[in-house]
Symmetry: C2
Subunit: 343 residues, 2 copies
């Protein structure tokens, strides 16, 4: 009676041990393991009991060798890492994906490809079939890794619409434009009329779309666009500070700012307050993301919530579907205005 004792790293039981315990062939054990089709209830039961008794756990390497699948997926970050690691959104996304995958018993391999060398190494690793698919975090256009993976036929789903790759690659994104519209409409409803904007990088969909939403709503509201009220950042806190300084210098009586990320909004807030202006009395500040950064400020940030939990869950769902043979798909998720004290 083999017990699955711990202690030491003994040879773990194999399918062969289970078969012997259960009094069936190894083929039958394997069938039970793989869904239980074409197995009699009695055999099924005997095998399950034997598995329990022996403490059997499938050897994934042996399985992978024959199925050709690795039963793992990569989480690939091709951004310069410093920035992304500074951003709390990244954490939420990584955690959500890890958990969603855990549900399917699929491990997540973390891959960082910040440099050219790393990109080459990782592309090679992935195309060699060491993962079944890739969750891609890289919003900038012209990402060579994304293109290479797509060409190699690796199942792929991006977080945010990958500019330049057309709709041949799956992606999951929040409705950036709509979120921006909500925020700017909110600022207008507060009576603000000289509304600035600090955009994201303009080679990212978040950068482009959120700015588009801003322009649309102002235009619809009959307000002339003042280009001095538009500056760009790179989603970093410090770029928010720089942006706010520029805005205040160009339009000292600006009465509100829509900032395309909470982290940048932190920087904007600091600069606005340092200039002696009160938030929200003199200048209302609206962020984007509803990341932990939004509640770390004083006053806390009014912002647009990105549904990160759903985004990560959908990314995993779409990726697994694609690994299972389905065609690519794009998923757009709604955002939500979260009112706090900064507006």
């Amino acid at each position: 009676m083999t017990m699955h004792s711990t202690g030491g790293r003994r040879k773990p039981p194999t399918i062969h041990d289970v078969a012997r315990e259960a009094g069936v062939s190894r083929g039958t054990v394997s069938r039970v393991l793989n869904g239980g089709h074409y197995v009699s209830p009695s055999a099924q039961e005997a095998v399950n009991a034997a598995i329990r008794r022996t403490g059997y756990v499938v050897n994934r390497h042996a399985r992978s060798l024959i199925t050709g699948r690795s039963d793992s997926v990569g989480f690939l970050l091709t951004e310069p890492q410093e920035r992304f690691f500074e951003d709390p959104n990244f954490n939420v996304l990584l955690r959500g994906c890890t958990q969603a995958l855990a549900t399917h018993d699929i491990p997540l391999l973390l891959m960082l490809a910040g440099t050219e060398d790393e990109r080459r190494r990782i592309t090679r690793y992935i195309t060699a079939g060491h993962v079944d698919g890739v969750l891609l975090v890289s919003s900038h256009s012209g990402d060579p890794v994304a293109e290479q993976l797509r060409e190699a036929g690796v199942p792929l789903v991006a977080c945010g619409k990958p500019i330049g790759l057309g709709s041949k690659v799956s992606y999951v994104a929040a409705d950036d434009r709509d979120g921006a519209r909500d925020m700017v409409r909110h600022l207008l409803s507060l009576g603000r009329r000289r509304i600035g904007v600090v955009t994201g990088p303009l080679d990212t969909p978040g950068g482009v779309e959120r700015l588009a939403g801003y322009r649309e709503v102002l235009t619809e509201g009959g307000i002339e666009i003042d280009e001095r009220l538009i500056v760009s950042g790179d989603y970093s806190r410090s770029s928010g500070e720089a942006g706010a300084e520029r805005l205040l210098a160009q339009v000292p009586d600006m009465d509100a700012v829509f900032v395309a990320s909470d982290l940048m909004a932190q920087g904007v807030l600091a600069v606005v307050q340092r200039s002696g202006r009160r938030v929200p009395e003199d200048v209302a500040v609206g962020g984007f993301d509803d990341s932990p950064a939004a509640t770390a400020t004083s006053p806390e940030l009014t912002t647009i919530r990105q549904p990160w939990d759903r985004i990560s869950a959908e990314m995993v769902r779409v990726l697994l579907a694609q690994i299972g043979g389905e065609d690519p798909a794009a998923v757009i998720l709604p955002t939500e205005l979260v009112k706090r004290r900064s507006t």
Copy 2:
């Protein structure tokens, strides 16, 4: 002449293809792959050329099946995840470990074990040999996972000294006590005498040691310990706020605080400033970590730098050594006082 064309997911070349190309046996190819011992220079060369021509990449599953190693390691987080994901330190550590492992071409599997269920699942996964070793992030005492892994003989290295596991498990840690001493000495040198402290959780080494350093330096300086100046937090920002409120209520003329993490120090800073006190004029605030949180505040935080890059590099080094058969080891790394505007 086979080119390693991309496109589609064709059957990749095997060791057999390489052997044919090179005109040698598969055994010889394998020997070249595994260090090139007992291989003539000419065979060596022929094989390398064939590998290049065919675009051969080893099939890790086949290799693992026979070696019994997975050539991968797990990064295991057993904390309730919310907190850790809020903490920028976590990112730095995760990134550092991933990069250090990439150097060795070893993938990192991210494992989150926040709930009892997840802990069970992951322990099973690990002890089944799916990873060769584990980088453990879990500072609380009495962690059942750590104990189980140790018993199962899984190579393990913790970040921070694991309370209760004795020295049978490897760990890498910053010199917490010494860092705390530096900070409190610095505050004393500024002329502050009513110095409060917000500690970390007292069932963690960071909680215990940093408090010990605080007590030591004050005692050495001939200052009587005032227990009303000592409160505990859990490393979260909000616990820093709560701690500061308690301290200010108990000792309104407190003139400095040593806070055991930058994130908590953010909360302390907010509360102190909200109370109308100036930082650093009225109350000097010192943090711990030198995480990105330290420069996100206004004024920026004086803090104790934890050498995260070295910590992660050492964790990986010690783990790989242990996987290679070496005995456990503890590594203590020095910290550094970083002076900014908050003191």
